[in-house]
Subunit: 514 residues, 2 copies
Amino acid sequence: MRQLKSYLGGQWVSGEAPMSTITSAVTGEAIAETSTRGLDLGAALAHARDVGGPTLRAMSFVERGELLKRLGKIIHANRDELIALSAENSGNTRGDAKFDVDGASGTLAYYGSLGKRLGEGTFLLDGPSEPIGRAPRFVGQHVFVPRRGVAVHINAFNFPAWGMGEKMAVSLLAGVPVLEKPATATAVVTARVVELWDEAGIPAGVISLLAGSAGDLLDHLGAQDVVAFTGSGDTGRIIKSHPRVLALNIPVNIEADSLNAAVLGPDVEVGSDTFQMFLNDVIRDMTQKAGQKCTAIRRVLVPESSVDAVWEEMVERLQTHAMGDISERSTTVSPLSTASQQRDILGGIAELEAAADASWTHPQPCPEPGFWVAPRLFRTDKGIDAPFVHEHEVFGPVSTVVTYSGSADDAVAIVAKGGGGLVSSIYSDDRTWGAEVLLGLAPWHGRLQWGSKKVYDQGVGPGTVLPGFVHGGPGKAGGGEELGGVRGLRFYWQRTAIQGDRALLEKILGKVEA
Amino acid sequence: MRQLKSYLGGQWVSGEAPMSTITSAVTGEAIAETSTRGLDLGAALAHARDVGGPTLRAMSFVERGELLKRLGKIIHANRDELIALSAENSGNTRGDAKFDVDGASGTLAYYGSLGKRLGEGTFLLDGPSEPIGRAPRFVGQHVFVPRRGVAVHINAFNFPAWGMGEKMAVSLLAGVPVLEKPATATAVVTARVVELWDEAGIPAGVISLLAGSAGDLLDHLGAQDVVAFTGSGDTGRIIKSHPRVLALNIPVNIEADSLNAAVLGPDVEVGSDTFQMFLNDVIRDMTQKAGQKCTAIRRVLVPESSVDAVWEEMVERLQTHAMGDISERSTTVSPLSTASQQRDILGGIAELEAAADASWTHPQPCPEPGFWVAPRLFRTDKGIDAPFVHEHEVFGPVSTVVTYSGSADDAVAIVAKGGGGLVSSIYSDDRTWGAEVLLGLAPWHGRLQWGSKKVYDQGVGPGTVLPGFVHGGPGKAGGGEELGGVRGLRFYWQRTAIQGDRALLEKILGKVEA
């Protein structure tokens, strides 16, 4: 059986028995094992901090960008191997595996280019300098400098490559070394990526990997470290309230649960281009990655008048999707990644079943063995008062149609009932209605998409996270923010106002405007 | 006796007995009492959210700025009354009271002007739009929109006017109503300010005041609310780990303990202009507000070679300061604000006494009654290994001289031992040394000041917080950030990426660049 190792202190190391078993989502059989027990995680963090940190901080943005480009190219050069591993471990269809692997290489390439744009400096000025007193000589200048710690990245099971790539790209470009901790259940792809990088050569201490349980990792954090986490709200709360995180006021970025919504406007006619866009987005999000995307649409708001037609069209589309042999092109729905995911989602489905006014189940029996769940559609006519629907994210090929009046106010209130989300989308060609809903939803989301007839054939749907736009959301979604081009670097930087003699500051900081 | 009331739900209300007593720092006698017991704080927050929020969000930045200017003018018009109240409650000399009261009106005026600059909109675009796909028609635009909640501001005892003014100015300009909770012990000035505003007329629900214990306030927070706190790290941790704050991922900004340092460069000759600037800053911070400023210099790093001369000069200057009748111009050191502050600081002084290699006490006996502590100077030759000095902030007229080698590396290491601070300052005319220390200290601070011969007569020292520059710091200092002009508004905003048809987005968001 494959033994996963961790890459800590510049060495590939293994923990002591007992080992954790990693299973195939398709066969349910063990394919790898790993342990982090007994590893000196304090020393691992210190190595990243003391060896990787100075190396990265001495590199210019251009040089850091070149490193990222190289990391992305290595992933791309080994794409087929990684896609095969993703199939073996997570049970991903080729399409779903590509979405993850190409997401990783694409994001690394994007931040590589951003490095080139940011130029030859090692830190960034923030705005022009401003005079402090009467004399123009005495000024203050804000700068962004990299924190002198390690970025601990705790990633989710659903994106073993992209999840690591997107956090790492931002942190390394900012000048902060990373320790990546993937979800153990799907760590095979992640570990292989780091292995490929190590074989090609990476600067010492810049990238570390903890392939398994986090153990006492957080107990060794320092005041200049940061933690970014993607996963459940419950685990997020455990991290945020960890005694050392609290004692040292360590910044924590959390991307958690989200009841993303798609809202169909009352003006949209069934069969129109805007309607097709709506349908494409909803069905893509229910089936891609078996609905195991944090950005997937969980709630579909449809005006009462068109709900029957929408339901019919959705069912018709979903029926064209099939589970089965994931190596076959005809298979468009993957199994879930783990047995515990399957358990959780079946539990969620039972709750929705009890709460819903109507439901539909994909007629195909689930393949066996493997962690399959058939696509499910629910409907509630209870709007904002519907139980469970607005509270709990069922993280599989599952969505609920929520009928509503069609009014902008109702749409905003029902979506906001979700308590804050990563992304929602609206579909309308009515400018007034659209503006009202969009601006009403904005404070509750990190990202919004407005589908309309002029762009019906554009974009990759609200479910695709793009590196140039922020990813995160308030409230239930965790309150964090990642990506967004240079915006994402902020988390890894300290902003400092430096006051002094303009001429002196210009000498050490570069051009300081008067 | 004066009864303080809270201003909640548009009414002046009082809680039930037993009342908390507020004492005079000069006489130790009760001067006011207050209670928040039994007040419906959930209803108070809902009023701010539902009445104040929509009003503010409908106002343009210009209109919000005009409101702030008016609030600032009312403070300025009643300056003498507020200074007198500050003397009566906190025992502030006229100079110290002015520092607080003028800080409040000045910050409100600054953000008033910023409102004018931000213009007629009600929210802000963040950067240009960027194309998403191949077609230039489909773009994403980041916007900053006000959160739809209340900003709960929990302020410190040392700045009853400025502490409220600086947080409120930023929040109201951002479009978020405030509930201000001053420290009970010094709430007399704060309550009077809100009373003056109410008499002059303020829009309903925009400003609320809780004059006393916070009670169950945090239990009523909503997902769109935020909390900004200034005070001890211990209380900060209680707020950050409050179950509701964790459950809803409510943003918390903390400004806490800080062992601010002043570092004298090895090139600076005793008696030079740069030396005088160093001495002015250190002595001002030890005596102004009796050292009860979160930005005051607690550690004075001096090269071994000049430590005797520095000590002598410091003692000479400190001897010119006097405690006494706070209405007399000759009195330049106020008492501490409360009996518990006095107790804490005497405890801290005992610890420093035990740890120090030398110490000096202001020869004047403390006046009686009142919460006086005589200025104290300590010295340690143990550098980075000195016990207590780098761990604990003694929040009074107290500072410790730490001898060091003069090397830039040693200076950075010793200052960083403080674990993250609000502001530190360096004094040198050596460009190489200065650059090394400043850039080494930057990741550990929110603000730095470089004193040098060309600016020796400029500025108001590192201890004065200016609205145009950020205030806050990493690690022990709380990890927060306030002020900094428009930067401070970020905390009260949700950033949202809006994707869609460029023409449609331009219509609803204003000009969106291609």
